[in-house]
Symmetry: C2
Subunit: 185 residues, 2 copies
């Protein structure tokens, strides 16, 4: 049996997570939550051993702000769906994760758009339902000692971990997402 070095290097976000892990003493499950490229909803259901639900804080069409427009490669001010949610455990409403996402309306197909606008379903589930083929690109990750808004939304004091990623379909970013969760998750 012959061993081969992997051709393409380790993803930049993985290297950043290793470093964060060293400096902040993260657990394997934290590193996975920060760096995985699958469905976050699915991961939360596996970890918490129960179904999860969405609590919608805000769902509105806005002119795309410049930071999101950069990540999505659309013009600033283009109509985008802004969605702010907390994913909670079905059993006891315990908040697990806060997410803020932007989706340019121009990139949404009809069925997906209807599901997204109904505001009651996590993106991972909508993608499963529509059998959407995509790839997730982790753009940045970080550690946050404390944050008053997150302390209220997640009903849990810091520290928190966060990540920003794009979901890419047909070669273009469909959604850019920022997710935050407590290290106590």
């Amino acid at each position: 049996m012959e061993k081969h070095k992997i051709g393409s290097r380790v993803h930049a976000s993985t290297v950043k997570i290793w470093s964060l892990s060293n400096s902040q003493g993260l657990l394997p499950i934290h590193r996975v939550l920060l760096g995985h490229d699958g469905s976050m909803t699915s991961l939360l259901e596996l970890i918490s051993r129960c179904e999860v639900a969405i609590r919608t804080i805000k769902q509105v069409v806005v002119p795309c702000p410049s930071e999101a427009a950069d990540l999505l490669a659309v013009d600033v001010g283009e109509p985008a769906n802004e969605r702010e949610i907390v994913i909670v455990r079905m059993t006891d409403d315990l908040p697990l994760l806060y997410a803020l996402s932007y989706t340019p309306l121009s990139r949404l197909k009809h069925g997906f758009k209807a599901d997204l606008m109904r505001a009651d379903t996590p993106i991972g589930k909508i993608m499963q339902r529509h059998r959407i083929e995509a790839r997730r690109e982790i753009l940045d990750v970080g550690y946050l000692e404390s944050d008053r808004q997150l302390e209220v939304l997640l009903a849990c004091p810091g520290p928190y971990l966060w990540r920003v990623y794009n979901i890419i379909t047909r070669g273009k970013p469909l959604i850019t997402v920022k997710e935050c969760f407590s290290v106590a998750l």
Copy 2:
């Protein structure tokens, strides 16, 4: 803030993993390894905090066996790439995961085919390199008390966990994969 039940139900594989977790006392990281729908290579690098490499056991074009043909929805006997590998840690060669996969040659595009046939790169890395948009469908998962072949390949006694999944691109299964790893991972 209003809470919504998620429209589509929990994935069948997730329910099976919850049940397996109860009966076998699995940890959160086991459930994630069994049920996530992202890149397994990426997950192993996040967990083990080092780059991983491939040790190729076997790489050969075979007539597709019936079980794999069923999962891939191709005719039995159609030429398929059979690949048997162990993913190991770069730093110390520690085996992390055994994988057996079948890919019908008819579904392979030229560049992807060349990378796959070189046998030195995990599928997740090849997909990242070619920016392939896909979805992974977990078909089955299970628990194995002991297995002499795995004990040698993984250099670790049982129990083991296994999963079978398809990687689907352009509406068709591109690869069907069986992965096995030790609960000591």
